[in-house]
Amino acid sequence: MSTTLANQQRSKIISLLSPAYLWLTVAIFLPLSAMLYFSFLSDVPFGQTEWHLTTENYQAFFQTTTYAKLLWKSIKLGLIVTGFAVLVGFPCAYVLAKVIQGRAREALFLLVILPFWSNSLVRIFSWAIVLRGNGVLEIGLNAILPFEVDVNLMFSTPAIVIGLVHSYLPYVILTSYLALQAIDDNLIDAARSMGAGKHTILWRIILPLSLPGLLAGAVLIFVPVVGSFMEPRILGGRVGTYFGTVIEDQFVAVFNWPLGAALSFILLAVVLVILALSSPILRRAQT
């Protein structure tokens, strides 16, 4: 009898898990495996082309410093965007979690989620309209300010950072919000009763206790930003050459899929190494 129960339990678990894993296998694992295979080919295996197995594509990364420099540029972009998103998002999450209550909180939350609901291309082109010379931002500022200003952020690094922070800010707000909301208000009251001021409470109670959520949000932002290509290309223009855009070029412009695939896996490996190196910090934050 207990074995039938166990069997039922097992079949229930399998029936609940299998759709998700089947989906992941078909949608991620298989294409990824195909890409891994491509990355070891000399040419695209379509049509009449000659191809053979090789590691040339990986060697290409090390033959010039261009790729490494671009990768470093992308990592710096990831750090800058993550940093700004944390600086802007964490205070916002704090106010949402600890200060505002009831319906106002729901409404403000909706505004935070809004970027998720808009098409990313539309979002980026909207920024282009705002940031370009004689754009919405410049006209608006000149309407308010008594002196003329010249704002043309278009095709610059700040434009890329602004666009990326906007796209990924909700992640850090959501994860920080969840972590902050889990902090018992009595802890803050207890610290106050012991004479702690706002800074002490922030640094010794709130930040340590919400750090896991904050770091989870940071990781969620950092990884896609390092590989991003759309924002750099549209908002960055000539300065917007990053590791992600180079990979994209291999696929859509140069049609060198094997090199693009190899560069993608190098990026994946570097990101995994970064996460592995920082995992002791992440783990310590969780205890």
């Binding site: 009595n186 009251d189 207890a190 610290a191 106050r192 009763s193 004479g195 109670i205 206790l209 205890t287």
Partner: protein, 349 residues
Amino acid sequence: MAEVSVHNVTKRFGKFTALSDVSMEFPDGGFFALLGPSGSCKTTLLRTIAGFLFTDGGTIRIGQQVVDDIPVEKREIGLMFQNYALFPNMTVADNVGFGLRVRKVGASEERRRIGEALDLVQLGHLGDRKPHQLSGGQRQRVALARAIVTRPRVLLLDEPLSALDKSLRVDMQIELKRIQREIGITTIFVTHDQEEALTLSDKIGILREGRMIQSGPPRDVYNNPVDVFTAEFLGDANIIAGRGQGQRLERPQAGGILVPPGSDTASALAVRPESISISTFEPIQDGISKVNATLVQRMFAGAMSTCIAEGDGNTYKVIGRDLDIPEVALGQKVWLSWKAVHTIVIPGQ
């Protein structure tokens, strides 16, 4: 250490008046209970004394200092929460030392006082543990050590023992009282557990809907409740309807309810369940109140048994030792009797 004085304090939240004209004195070194049903705003009063809330009228003094404009951070109070509120990211020692570090007392002084405080609550050996590795009773002790380590002027406890199970709660009551005596700190605690309030405190304040109904030593409040609410809330009381309702009390009242000498007017009469005796025959002694009643229920609960009897238009609850209650079938007539001094005269308005 310092006395605390709450004088005509009023606190409003929007249109809702949480505290209206509350006054109570808490002399230096005493142990005080604020008691009331849920919704009596007793915690609001405690948080106002602590300084989380500012009054909308009236004055709070700690020692000689008027603290109305002083926020909680500067009031030099110790506070203990119902859920302990230990910092989960810190060790026991760091929890206890938090207030000392804020005050920058120096590393060696800090270590010494953390040790002292932990020894006082008998947890000197657990300084390196994290709160989640402790039992409920141990967390309680850490929270207490943390509250007193800064040598606050007053210790405020918000339902400190309600999260513990009964036997542990009684142990902690004794412990709390011992520590309070040892350091002689003025202590105010909020509770809805009347037994806890009666056992521990030198003085209790009964709150109801944001008003201080009565305050005084536990015995006074228990034996001389000012109104029906207090009589029923503190301990158990049979309110005797239709007697003394604004009338001049006659004494002795033959065959009825006798009242103690010196009682002239009353808004109601009451008698405690444990004051009543049950007998099968009519008691003939002088100076006792007696009621002929029908036994409707009898419940055995070990040390004490509870009977319900109906007579004279009232329902009486009687508590006594099982062997003192005669063997009577339910529905039979019995006599309830009690001494005149046991009749509680609730004064008229």
